[in-house]
């Protein structure tokens, strides 16, 4: 079927983009998506709007968990037929465009979008729903400050009054960003990491907190009343506006944060008119997301690959690691995509790893080693822990699988397709 909304110019631009991407792949320069997207946008500046053509069901944005949440939501939405979504975590303009241009034609789209790119992607794609989950510090040498990002989101929602916002009421910065929208579904999704929302983003007053409740004595802003609730006790439960409970114990993605992500995804499903019981069943089929939580072979070891990019993310990951004395591998890089400054290591509660030996690696392994020294955690510094002759802590090689938590570039290297992914 012809897409009536797609202009001829955009069709030609997409063809040119695919060609550029294929050339880039042939030359061994990666998947070619960014190149292809750039070529398409260069030839047809309105390509994103053309390709969206009113079929974007939801955009997902957050500092942490957007790739996992998008995968959960897209899988849940597949109950109604094919869905256009990213197969990788490419979430800037080119990645969004690529998913729309090369996904199933005319299918509803569910897309993750980088926090800073969200305003322009939302304006171009006009989604039905936007999910806003959390905002915290992430690569401060590269990204805008958290409060500035929230102000951009706020302006975006004022300028696009038709979009339904599903937002985490427990994150005061997200609540500030979302509050001006015409239609908001507030979710009590929890907030483990509060260090970046200690002051009111509007007036700078220190926020008062009482459990998950928060308020500002300066401007009277307070945590909104929520219609969806997330509960956690070893496993998660989502509670809908009508009191209906959805047991999330069958989720295969580990940890409190993934159950919280699933709750927010479920609230979006409700807005999209999907069957919520089916949505939970489908979300429970997701075992790994673009390599996150996947078991892979790395050199002489089998590892469960964990990705963490910032203190909030790390704080969540430490909770799902097996208890001491089981050793774990931590790889810290400071390449451009990781953020050049790893001083955030001092914000991560590594003390929780006491009683085991941490294998410290990555180009900032020495920063990690000093951090662990101060935390009272034993560490061995090893440049390549996957080498056959690496001297690893006793018992490491006997483990069937060892947890390996890594920053972005180290993670990407380990999930290289040459590392065979094992079926779990």
């Amino acid at each position: 079927m012809e897409r009536v909304n797609t202009s001829l110019r955009t069709k030609l631009a997409v063809t040119a983009g695919r060609l550029a991407a294929a050339t880039s792949r042939t030359l061994g320069r990666g998947e070619g998506m960014v190149v292809g997207g750039k070529v398409t946008l260069g030839l047809s500046p309105h390509a994103l709007a053309d390709l969206a053509g009113g079929r974007v069901a939801a955009l997902v944005s957050a500092t942490n968990g957007k790739t996992s949440t998008t995968r959960l939501l897209a899988t849940a939405a597949s109950q109604a037929g094919p869905v256009a979504t990213q197969s990788t975590g490419a979430n800037m303009t080119e990645g969004v465009l690529w998913a729309l241009a090369n996904g199933p034609a005319d299918a509803p789209a569910i897309l993750e979008v980088d926090e800073a790119y969200l305003p322009r992607v939302l304006a171009a794609t006009r989604p039905k729903v936007v999910l806003l989950a959390n905002l915290s510090r992430d690569q401060l040498d590269r990204m805008s400050e958290v409060a500035m990002l929230a102000r951009k989101w706020r302006r975006m929602l004022a300028e696009n009054p038709d979009v339904v916002v599903v937002a985490n009421a427990d994150d005061p910065i997200v609540a500030f960003a979302a509050e001006k929208a015409q239609q908001i579904i507030w979710v009590a999704a929890g907030q483990e990491w509060t260090a970046d929302s200690s002051v009111c983003p509007e007036c700078g007053t220190l926020l008062s907190r009482d459990g998950t409740d928060w308020s500002c004595s300066g401007c009277g802003r307070a945590r909104p009343k929520t219609s969806w609730q997330f509960e956690w006790e070893k496993t998660g439960t989502a509670v809908g506006p009508d009191g209906q409970r959805y047991d999330l114990a069958s989720l295969q993605l580990p940890g409190r944060f993934n159950a919280s992500n699933a709750t927010m995804a479920l609230a979006v499903c409700a807005e999209l008119g999907l069957d919520l019981a089916k949505a939970v069943t489908l979300m429970s089929t997701v075992t790994s997301v673009s390599g996150r939580f996947a078991t892979v072979v790395a050199g002489s070891l089998r590892i469960r690959l964990l990705l963490a990019k910032n203190p909030a993310g790390w704080s969540e990951l430490l909770d799902i690691m097996p208890p001491a004395p089981t050793p774990v591998i931590i790889i810290i890089n400071s390449n451009d995509a990781d953020g050049r400054d790893p001083s955030w290591l001092w914000d991560v509660p590594f003390e929780r790893l006491k009683g085991r030996t941490v294998i410290a690696s990555g180009n900032r392994r020495r920063d990690l080693a000093v951090r662990l020294l101060h935390a009272g955690v034993d560490a061995v510094v090893i440049e390549d822990p996957f080498a056959a002759d690496a001297v690893l802590p006793a018992g490491t090689r006997e483990l069937a699988v060892i947890d390996c938590a890594a920053t972005y570039t180290a993670f990407q290297k380990l999930r290289d397709p040459s590392n065979e992914e094992l079926a779990l």
């Binding site: 400050e145 050049r340 400054d341 001083s343 001092w346």
Partner: protein, 241 residues
């Protein structure tokens, strides 16, 4: 040696702790214990009363709105000024350094009043300073730091030093204050753009602060992991020059 533990106050880490600044307090505590010294850490949140009889006060970096909130609360309290008068030492990083001066730029670029504990004022650099910072300490008499200082800087402030302060160091790589100098010191009040965190990467500076607190010089204790990190970082700062 003093009988009572060294009292260390971490000022408003919820407002001024953006760049892993908690590591400075952790380093003081860790290095104190290497020297067999007991240390009590008191963490002050906004709204709490700041004691004026502690030995060492530490504050870090923060976003613009948080920096203004912290400066206002500290000016209203007056405790830091009283503590300095009584001989306490202060280590302030980045936004904390700026708010110790006479004025600094707020989120809109207007001058906000600081504490005036350092004779400096801050306005904006033409371009944000981000990257490894290495600096050679000067006037070794003021601190017992004799080795190169290493850190990471991430700030948009140009800090101008008045006659009442001495720069802490001379920049060999990076931006620092913006005029070739880095940081400022007067008496026992130190401001610097070095984070990373500062005391983790420069244990001699931590030993200076602890030595002041107990009234006696501490001979440096070298830890291999820290030494290796320093070597690597100073090497990378030179390379990126």
């Amino acid at each position: 040696m003093k009988e009572r533990p060294i009292r260390i106050v971490s000022i408003y880490p919820t407002l001024l702790g953006t760049y892993g600044d908690g590591g400075n307090v952790a380093a003081l505590s860790h290095i104190a214990s290497l020297h067999g010294l007991a240390a009590d850490i008191l963490t002050i949140s906004p709204g709490m009363v700041i004691p004026d009889d502690a030995d060492i006060y530490v504050m870090g970096g923060g976003e613009d709105t948080a920096q203004v909130a912290a400066a206002n609360a500290l000016r209203a309290s007056g405790a830091l000024t009283r503590a300095v008068d009584k001989g306490a030492s202060v280590l302030a990083i980045c936004a904390g350094y700026q708010l110790l001066g006479h004025e600094f730029p707020d989120a809109d670029g207007n001058a906000a009043p600081g504490l005036g504990l350092l004779d400096v004022f801050t306005d904006r650099l033409p371009k944000r300073a981000v990257g490894e910072l290495a600096a050679e300490p000067i006037r070794a008499g003021l601190t017992s730091v004799t080795q190169m200082l290493t850190g990471y800087e991430n700030h948009g402030g140009a800090t101008h030093l008045g006659a009442g302060v001495t720069p802490l160091a001379l920049v060999t790589s990076g931006v620092g204050n913006g005029d070739g100098t880095e940081g400022a010191i007067t008496g026992r009040v130190i401001g610097t753009y070095l984070h990373g965190p500062c005391l983790v990467r420069n244990p001699l500076l931590a030993e200076t602060l602890l030595g002041w607190a107990i009234g006696q010089h501490l001979d440096p204790i070298v830890e291999d992991a820290v030494e290796e990190l320093r070597r690597e970082r100073l090497g990378s700062a030179t390379m990126s020059k």
